[in-house]
Amino acid sequence: MKKQSLWKDAFYRLIQDKWAMISLIIVSLYTILAILSATGLIASDWAREVGASNLPPSSEHWLGTDLFGRDVLTKVIHGSQIAMSVGLFTSLIAIPIGVFLGAIAGYFGGWIDDLITWLYTTFSSIPNIMLLISITMILGKGLFAVYIALGATSWVTLCRLIRGEVMKHKEREYVQAAGAIGGGHMRKLFLHILPNVTHIIIINTSLQFQFAIKSEVLLSFLGIGVQGEPSWGVMIDDAKLELARGVWWQLAGATVAMFIIVLAFNLLGDALRDSLDPKLKGK
């Protein structure tokens, strides 16, 4: 009963926040676009020549065409598929690792905690960008390496947060009660404590997405990310030499598309934190 009311409470707080709702709508729209694009229903013909080279935006091609006469809007939509997939797959890698390691470190303490603390201290000691560059360089260029590199670097924050939160919870009475009626360690940890720290995972995922999208753009721009298809980073890279010739639409399209989704995830992350963790409201 109580658990329900907490989530209900959070839900009501969230739908009253109009910025959170706008962000949520934007995230949903991008998700739908990404799914449609991934299933080939839209934007699958991004490589097709549809007009002359570098046409400025018009009613026919809303964002103009690129050097090869391809429609920029179609490329931007295809880019959203890549961006969302990077967010999704890095979250799928980072969240299980971060949650599992953080949970057992916080719960068991002792040498397990020492070992996991050492592990994330070590990982966070290597500057993020150097680790990203090293991993993508070694795994070979491409989207797969980007998933792995971003996943391998972004579990650390979540692990640290979960560890701290589980530590706070493990001495609470409800956990003791679960132990008293015969619950084992795994039961206490995963059935009782973990549901009480899920808000951290939710908030973190929102921020993880925007971090992943920004990093993918950066890595693709550096030439070690996506190869042979238009991601936003690749489009910005293509556009950098065209700017002096007055061709701004490709740069603008990719930048604005990225700005909107990253802003939405940032605002959503803040709103989720306010509604799920009301103690922190306004900070």
């Binding site: 950066l218 910005i236 700005f259 306004g282």
Partner: protein
């Protein structure tokens, strides 16, 4: 206290060994045999054998790992594959232009952020606060690439206020080259910095001692500057000190766009030419710097807050 510092110093060892181990796994195990990259397809067996000997790849894995650990202490990274120069020499060359760009920008952006954060904290809850917070989030949501491309095009190319690219050594000479990238750096840092400092300051503002200070009749400004800021200094110092290692790495993108021959530029060139030893050296160097500076913050803590020693 000395016991605490000693304990922290000893903790350096496992972390350094761990960092070396990750770098060893990446560069010595996963990356495979570099002789194909270096010698091309038509290399003879003797050539390959010689190269492997030269690079130390004939040694057992255990000894190769020790080589990585050793380089973390001696900073002897061997030679670059692309330029054949000593990497230590390249790093020394690159550090100066990097620091010319990052150090002044870093100092200005930090002071500016603290001032803005104080103003925002003073006006907390009002429209100004809301507006600045939104601006910060919007600011970090724009890709760094867009800032760089847009500013370089507008202010350097169209308006001609700054040099488009290049670098000159010596104090007043480098200023026109680093001014614009420096401004972009400051703009990029303001968003996250102001947000963080604001949170830290607001954490303090609701403490009991602040209420006491107000009850004594002190003005809000005195309370902010004398009481709140002083106590907020600990997380602020950590945040600042921990960023210093990344100044050494320079600003990867800014340096490449503005043709500044710093460490960021060296890293990017190495990336483009698959120059593994240079990337490996930069990874080790920046990690060691990070570890040393986080040790420094821990030691600074003990001076700022004596309670830390007991933990």
């Amino acid at each position: 206290m000395f016991q605490y510092i000693l304990r922290r110093l000893l903790y350096l060892i496992p972390v350094l060994l761990g960092v070396s181990f990750i770098i060893f796994i990446l560069f010595n195990l996963v990356s495979g045999d570099p002789s194909a990259v270096l010698l091309g397809k038509n290399a003879t067996a003797t050539q390959i054998a010689e190269l492997r000997e030269q690079l130390g790849l004939n040694k057992s894995l255990w000894l190769q790992y020790l080589d990585v650990v050793k380089s973390a202490f001696t900073f002897d990274f061997g030679r670059s594959w692309a330029t054949k120069q000593e990497i230590t020499y390249m790093i020394k060359q690159g550090a100066y232009p990097s620091l010319c760009l990052t150090l002044p920008a870093f100092i200005i952006s930090t002071f500016l952020s603290i001032i803005i954060a104080l103003i925002v904290a003073y006006y907390r809850g009002t429209g100004i606060d809301l507006f600045v917070r939104f601006l910060c989030i919007a600011g970090v949501s724009v890709s760094a690439l867009a800032y760089i491309l847009g500013f370089q095009y507008l202010f350097a190319y169209e308006l001609g206020w700054f040099e488009i690219s290049g670098f000159e050594y010596g104090f007043p000479d480098f200023v026109p080259y680093v001014a614009l990238p420096g401004i972009i750096w400051i703009l990029l840092s303001l968003g996250p910095d102001v947000r963080f400092f604001r949170t830290v300051i607001l954490d303090e503002i609701y403490q009991d001692y602040v209420r006491t200070a107000r009850a004594k009749g002190l003005s809000e400004i005195t309370v902010l500057l004398k009481h709140v800021l002083r106590n907020a200094m600990i997380p602020i110092i950590t945040y600042i000190v921990i960023q210093i290692p990344s100044l050494i790495l320079g600003a990867l993108l800014l340096e490449s766009f503005f043709g500044i021959p710093g460490l960021g530029g060296i890293t990017l060139n190495a990336l483009n030419s698959s120059d593994f030893p240079v990337i490996k050296a930069m990874a080790i160097l920046t990690s060691v710097a990070y570890i040393l500076f986080s040790l420094l913050t821990d030691i600074l803590y003990t001076f700022a807050d004596p309670r830390v020693r007991l933990k």
